[in-house]
């Protein structure tokens, strides 16, 4: 098997980092020279997977860089090379909104931060261990931008974890992420029920995929090798709406927790409904060797424990869909916005999750998940349903909870989240980043 080149792969693909804060900064290059001058100063800050694994206790900040197709052009990448990238990446996320189901309030005309524009060229992903380090890094980057006229910030999104800090979770309180795919050759301990170790080519360009193919790679190889595609989604979470819905539609605290679990497919602790159908089991939720060890086809075929349309069952249907391992994606994310204290009415402040879905084929992996699993009312013959957590909701759709003797149908589900922006990025390997700095006009 081809060995993974850990020392050339941006670390976000292979390792999480112990960050509590951070910033996503979205940039535009007015000239190729300005873009490359900025990039040349940024490249030394970008750590490989090897680096981060060896030094994670040394550093307090971690940086990744990625570019839109327009951004590669703005850096001076030639037309032949640009044409070798796949169609969906060339078009960009905003242009594919109808395919993704990003309609209504989620449509690109409502996106914030300049994310839908052609002048979005690059993202700097900064993860920081604490707020002091985040402020220091932002200051250094601001100083770099001052030295690089012709590189502009379109917008930024500051990240902030919320209590409890012992584990990662979103503003609704769901532990996340749990079901990360695993990769052959990554050295990770295999997690029972996680789908086994997958071929690296499912996530990283230049390696065989699950079919044994290294197909349709952009050229030249120095640019594509050890790179990947990254779908960015800024998802606002309407915490007040979510809590109000639970209160109005479930009896007592236990009933509300169960309804929240039915929407997700897991309790907020992370415990899967298939293994804990009646009551939460926080120990199970926190145990990675147990909290994925189940299937749906034999253990819960009708969805009495975990509804067929729940978020987790849609996004990782395990044994109930063909070829699920051809649809897996690596997820990295950070929460933004202040927490909404319990018992407080929605304050109108935007809060949510800024997430990255990393894969080798946006059309086969990310777009399939959006088009077929999240926003398709034909999914599992459910009819008038989208994903209750991250699907596009306009207040007219349902959510069905199978139950003996008669199922419960929640009609007119409100939107618990709204997409506020997104983009497709190419995440180059480190040699490719250096190659981009050497381009000529």
């Amino acid at each position: 098997m081809t060995e993974l080149e850990f020392d050339d792969i941006q670390h976000i693909m292979l390792t999480g980092t112990p960050h509590l804060t951070g910033r996503y900064e979205f940039l535009s290059f007015d000239t190729p020279e300005a873009g490359r001058a900025w990039l040349a100063e940024m490249v030394p800050l970008v750590q490989s997977a090897t680096d981060v694994r060896e030094t994670v206790n040394v550093f307090k900040r971690w940086v990744n860089l990625a570019f839109t197709w327009n951004g590669l052009r703005a850096l001076g990448v030639d037309e032949n090379t640009l044409a070798s990238f796949p169609n969906e990446f060339r078009e960009g996320m905003a242009s594919r909104a109808d395919i993704l189901g990003d309609t209504g309030a989620a449509a690109p005309e409502h996106w914030v931060g300049g994310l839908a524009g052609d002048d979005l060229h690059a993202i700097v992903i900064l993860f920081a261990r604490d707020e002091e380090e985040r402020v220091r890094c932002v200051g250094e980057h601001d100083a770099l931008l001052a030295r690089c006229p012709g590189v502009r910030t379109l917008s930024h999104l500051d990240l902030a974890a919320t209590a409890p800090f012992e584990y990662d979770h979103d503003h609704f309180g769901y532990r996340d992420p749990i079901s990360q795919p695993q990769m052959k050759g990554s050295g990770e301990v295999l997690i029972p029920g996680a789908g086994g170790a997958l071929a690296p080519g499912e996530f990283i360009l230049g390696y065989p995929d699950e079919e044994g193919l290294v197909a349709n790679q952009p050229t030249p190889e120095v640019l594509s090798r050890n790179g990947s595609y990254m779908a960015y989604r800024r998802l606002e979470e309407h915490v007040g709406v979510f809590r109000d819905y639970l209160k109005q539609n479930a009896e007592g605290a236990e009933g509300q927790e169960l309804l929240a679990a039915k929407f997700m497919g897991r309790w907020r602790s992370g415990a899967p409904l298939v293994l804990a159908p009646e009551h939460d089991d926080p120990e199970l939720g926190a145990d990675p060797m147990r909290n994925n060890d189940f299937d749906y086809g034999t253990m819960d075929p009708h969805g009495y424990a975990c509804p067929l349309g729940s978020h987790a069952r849609r996004l990782n249907p395990r044994d109930t869909e063909p070829n699920p391992n051809r649809r897996r994606m690596i997820r990295r994310s950070g929460t933004y916005g202040p927490p909404l204290p319990e018992g407080v009415a929605d304050d109108g402040v935007e809060r949510g999750v800024g997430m990255f879905l990393i894969c080798a084929s946006l059309v086969r992996q990310f777009e399939f998940a959006q088009n077929v699993w999240i926003n398709d009312s034909a999914f599992k013959d459910l009819g008038n349903e989208h994903d209750p957590i991250c699907g596009t909701q306009d207040g007219t759709m349902d959510f069905k909870i199978p139950k003996r003797p008669i199922r419960k149908v929640h009609k007119g589900l409100p939107a618990f989240t709204t997409l506020r922006g997104g983009a497709y990025f190419f995440l180059p390997g480190l040699a490719a980043l250096r190659y981009l700095t050497t381009l000529e006009n």
């Binding site: 193919l213 197909a215 070829n323 051809r326 059309v363 399939f368 088009n371 077929v372 034909a378």
Partner: protein, 187 residues
Amino acid sequence: MAHNGNNDWTRPAALAIPREGYFELTRGRYGPVFPRTPACYGFNIIAKVLDGHEQAIRDYGKQLEAAVAAQPDVLAPLKLHYLRWNLFDVGSGLHFQYQGIFDTDFDKYTEDAVKLFSSTGITTAFTHLEGFPEDWKTNPEAFIMFVRDHQVPSFLEYGEYPYVTSEEVKKALRLKAAFAHMLDQMQ
């Protein structure tokens, strides 16, 4: 108009479809989405057979029969009702027609279909067709484009029990069998 989800299965329905194969352009991941009709979703691939390759395609019919007999759910990912294969020559050479009636737009499960075509050898039958990409084994996207390029949409479709999925049919038959069993127990 395309199906709005409220049709009554007890009322037979016909639908005339515009030349393009759809009423309004709805983009799927690989191209236009063709509408659900009273006869469900469908795909109709027509391509010319390479000279001298007729028997090879006919022989493949027996292979697929054997594959389904050995593993009845082998084609399940395609969500099929029916599959019909024809060979015909109306004066412009021998052509192959692959007609499938199923319950999801082809675009949605394109990659699964391609993988299934390869694993069951359906792809092998396609290699006897003109214009089929020579690099299909290493270039799944080229196969996807061949299939889309040779799709011939219907201009009329009819359903005696319109818009019913194969899963609904199977559920109804399972229910009928369960009632029959229950009545047996009452004797």
